[in-house]
Homo-oligomer: 366 residues x 4
């Protein structure tokens, strides 16, 4: 595989460029019998859709998904599910001026040297637009995990630039444009993002994703650890520069007497592990945190070079997210779901019939 | 594969338990014609060997490697290179008391529920001892990368618990037991670690790994990104809880005008990207930072449960590293080398004959 | 992967059912810079298209392919090439009567027990219609192999039922509906096939595929041997029951003194090996022969059972090929091309820079 | 992977050369809890061991296997099972004369051009000796399949050179050096093989492998079909030139009315399919037949070339099997077992919880 597929048993093979005919993927390995409609997928797609507020790109893409295969009479058949999203809003002129130059912070320079040819329209394959297909594939994974195991996967923004966003309640996350879990922070965020846009700049973000009700025993022991596959999945999201599981970098200053989560018959006493020990799920919540870099496309002049290697100064205009992190929440949820369903199937293959008398303790006390 | 292999074209398949007959791996895909001897591998193994100072486990393991195949008259033949390290120092009695209990912070509970059976001696498969085979395999990767591309992969400790360790010089890193890049910090670290041991506790650490002279163009665009595979590899190291590329979590508060590395004919003006853009190497240094949790095995009483699910109190005695992070430096270097060689081969397969006239700019200015 | 992808570096992921919205595939790993248009692919698709003569199914499918991604300004970009063929002629009523029964010789019974659900329309996923996407993907592989190495991949029918078809000339193969390499046999075949149809029966076939100008050194030594991957690819074609390389089953009665192909500076003295020794190409022609079973769908009454397990008698009407082997020639060529390009890339990855002074001898003497 | 691993979920990674320190493999993915000892594996190894009769190579190799990992207190733990067979009888002088020449019918020429270096001692990696590790790995697969599903995998010789060997009874197969299922043929075979040896020549063979009690539903629908993976596995055996499933090449002259196996509530009326329809097992016996070429190493003078490309005449002396097919029976059984266990696990992953009310009919009537 050449880097456009992920997953061993529940695999997603992605295709498409930002301004080509369309984007999509083939989902192979979905268990048969799952009720699935385009509406199930569309609901997740709409959460990351551009143009939903003034704080994200104003590009207008309905992102309407078509199921091309693998579903018969409303149920998955166990055969590949192909999903297609046609591109509709393609203002190539916005991008014509960058065909011979390399935008700082973008993949232009690396694609050019790797392939010797690139589709410059909207970043081509390297556009964040590709993440829509992950959300679509993730919607299938999410539904199966929820119906089969009651697993709930949710994310929320914990910081945008200088503004930290405490967790208050999951209930408000989808009611504001920032996926913030604290409604009292929304006004401050609105003002902050407006100032960023006015300064023709962009800013980074940090978000948290949690999976609840994951059974103990998923994940592999040495490589393909559950947390390693999660780190892989998250770092595969455009602009992600850091990944933490559980205590994350906070563990550096912890003592073993603090970090190691104690076990009691009533449940785990804490969750510094973030739900994974020895690469295998513990039954606690899977806790993931990621850092997303500021959008590289800004309207300020920046130094770069052109194909001839000559110095140039460029400003990237067009319709860009001042904070790509904002729309990353549903993407991160989808990636976590894709990792979990793959390991659910892998576990079933090797250890599906294992039984021990030892009771499974709750993920947390009480 | 069931989680004991990594790498698509340069693959390592690992085996072995801490107290079984031995540990080892099969390295498949090494290009033919590389000069290779057991001494090349032993040199790296000795860097992570236990018992080298009072600050690491006092377990005595010579960790002597035997090449079982794939090398003829001192050169690799392109066939699988099997490496075997026999276990010698196995004090199973140290571990007999934990067969029916689950140590907090360890994989005991997860292995038990996953497999329904586990080898409790020294943690069996989940022992950090397994990382020796990665160092051995990584030594082969390192040598090929150095001879073929002049790539240099080095790591150093940046923090142990509360003590931050600034970077002064690579020259001193291998001359102190902490892989510290600042000799003036060694006394403080000695005292700090002694106090940790006296308090029967352990502590976390943070380290940095750098790969220099990586050509532009390695890595895949969507999944299997170079940074994603690096995150995967690092998170596969026992006890790692966080991974950063370049600016890492620091990018959250950065502006796009600061983070996006400008290009000039003389080179990149900065390296917040950490050497990867769009999943593909830029020609800048690959910059990775990881967080390692404190050793879970400590001699203080901790709450846990036994196989019957009953509450117990346990102290983990035996010979443990008070800071597992200390010996993680050569392991992290090895994992980075394994990712890089795999992508070197993948790049050669798909784009080996690509040529563009555009000059490759230096990784950094001047 | 769940059995809908093939190829490690040049991978094809197939999707679609006979009577769903469409069929297609994602081709990942195609080297960048290959000139490619829909016309290149259509030309191969038209060779297996139904309805081209009275000896194949009269189903009318234009099989028009659309390139959805991976091609920019007429050249491949190194990113995934997604191909879509919309289904147009779907007479589902032809198949309605078989939803609750299992056709003898078909996958109905096995799909039902494997998945617990199946799309019965036209055989759903198990329809030979899926092979169109392999021909489409194979067209890309064929073009790259031809342009890069001058490799020519051709097939012809060697036997239909009782009628053996000697090889006279490649020139006539595409000028008759049977892919026969002997024009003088065409009348006999016409009459033979007419008689088969009149008897409401079907018949098997045997065909030969040859790849010329394959360089020495492609293929892996133990598993993933070139001939093993060819056998895998051929047996993956619907209805194939046997595969031979070179002398094939003829080698059973050969002596070593006859079978072992002698080498001379002027070339190999014979090609009983079929172009592969020790799993690796020799530089001789790759010689493959396959057996294709008679079409299982015939209009004669046959015994079977229904979903309740009760005995039934059924005739399969609809528009079926009286000899599925006839349209298998372009499919077999495509499969061989897909195996060869994958190994071309794998060879380049591991041994791309190997040089020996030993001259490469011609595939055949003179 | 570079061609030394097979299997997606139950994977075998093989290593070793004929005259190196040893050969072996890592078996990854074996379900936990299987009782396993070295004796279980040794029993199968002894069936292919050289030197057991005058009709096979007189090389003396005890082929003693050591389990290095993955088994604790007599049971598999779900972690990798590493197997090592040390080489003992290495008469390198037998082979010294061929280091600079290419033996006809051997991999010498292809290895040399592929890798630019080769271990000529006993054929190095291309030696049939490597097949011992497949038998060892297959022994584990066989045991699990037998204990879990009652699957019985057996093979017997059906033809050696000109001598066809009818099937009489499984009971005699392991009581004669030819794995013949007809004791009355043994004298004729003894005389025939003696004559072959006297003539300093070798001969081909054909054998049949059968798997009984395979449940319906194993195998993938498009690629990775059960029969395709079987063809792949068999063609991966040194010297195999042809593979048939069920009717095999016999289907070419069959009519659809004959070939398509009818279904009745009492069972299938025939088994021309060989136990696979649409790539998925039917519940009938899996029927496989393979052709094995005559040994290439014969003591007659043959034409070849040397490294300089100059013509030479060579005789291959040493201790060779006059018919490599004879010892291929346990190897073919092992390869079939490895394919079946992999698909058993793959089926469990995707469709493990599928249930239909339709009764499963017997593999054969009565």
């Amino acid at each position: 595989m050449s880097g456009n597929s992920m997953g061993l048993l529940f695999s997603v093979t992605s295709f498409g460029e930002s301004h080509g005919p369309g984007i999509g993927c083939v989902v192979d390995g979905c268990p048969p019998g799952l009720e699935l409609s385009e509406a199930d997928i569309q609901a997740e797609l709409d959460r990351r859709k551009p143009g939903t507020s003034r704080h994200v790109t104003q590009r207008r893409e309905p992102d309407t998904v078509e199921i091309l295969s693998g579903v018969y009479e409303g149920k998955t058949t166990g055969t590949p599910i192909a999903l297609l999203i046609r591109n509709t809003d393609q203002r190539s002129k916005d991008y014509g001026n960058i065909a011979d130059t390399f935008r700082p912070g973008h993949a232009d320079y690396t694609y050019w040297h790797k392939y010797g040819i690139r589709d410059p329209r909207g970043g081509g394959r390297s556009s964040a637009r590709e993440t829509a297909v992950r959300v679509a594939a993730g919607a299938i994974a999410k539904k199966w995990l929820r119906e089969k195991f009651g697993i709930v996967i949710r994310g929320h923004m914990t910081q945008i630039g200088a503004v930290e966003i405490p967790f208050q309640s999951w209930n408000v996350v989808n009611d504001n444009p920032f996926f913030a879990a604290d409604a009292s922070k929304v006004d401050e965020l609105e003002a902050y993002m407006d100032s960023i846009r006015k300064s023709l700049d962009s800013v980074g973000a940090r978000l948290r994703v949690v999976a609840e009700n994951v059974p103990v025993g998923w994940g592999e022991p040495v490589y393909d650890r559950l947390d390693a596959d999660i780190a892989y999945a998250m770092m595969n999201i455009n602009a992600v520069k850091g990944v933490e599981i559980g205590a994350g970098f906070g563990c550096v200053t912890q003592r073993g007497s603090e970090h190691g989560d104690e076990l009691t018959p009533q449940g785990f006493a804490s969750n510094h592990a973030g739900g994974v020990l020895g690469g295998i799920s513990t039954g606690q919540d899977i806790e993931v945190s990621i850092a997303i870099k500021p959008t590289s496309s800004i309207a300020q002049p920046r130094r770069s070079i052109n194909k001839a290697g000559e110095p140039i100064e460029m400003e990237t205009h067009g319709r860009h997210d001042p904070c790509v992190g904002i729309r990353a929440t549903p993407i991160a949820e989808a990636m976590l779901a894709l990792v979990l369903i793959d390991h659910a199937l892998r576990h079933r293959a090797q250890c599906g019939d294992v039984h021990v008398d030892t009771p499974r303790i709750p993920g947390r006390i009480g």
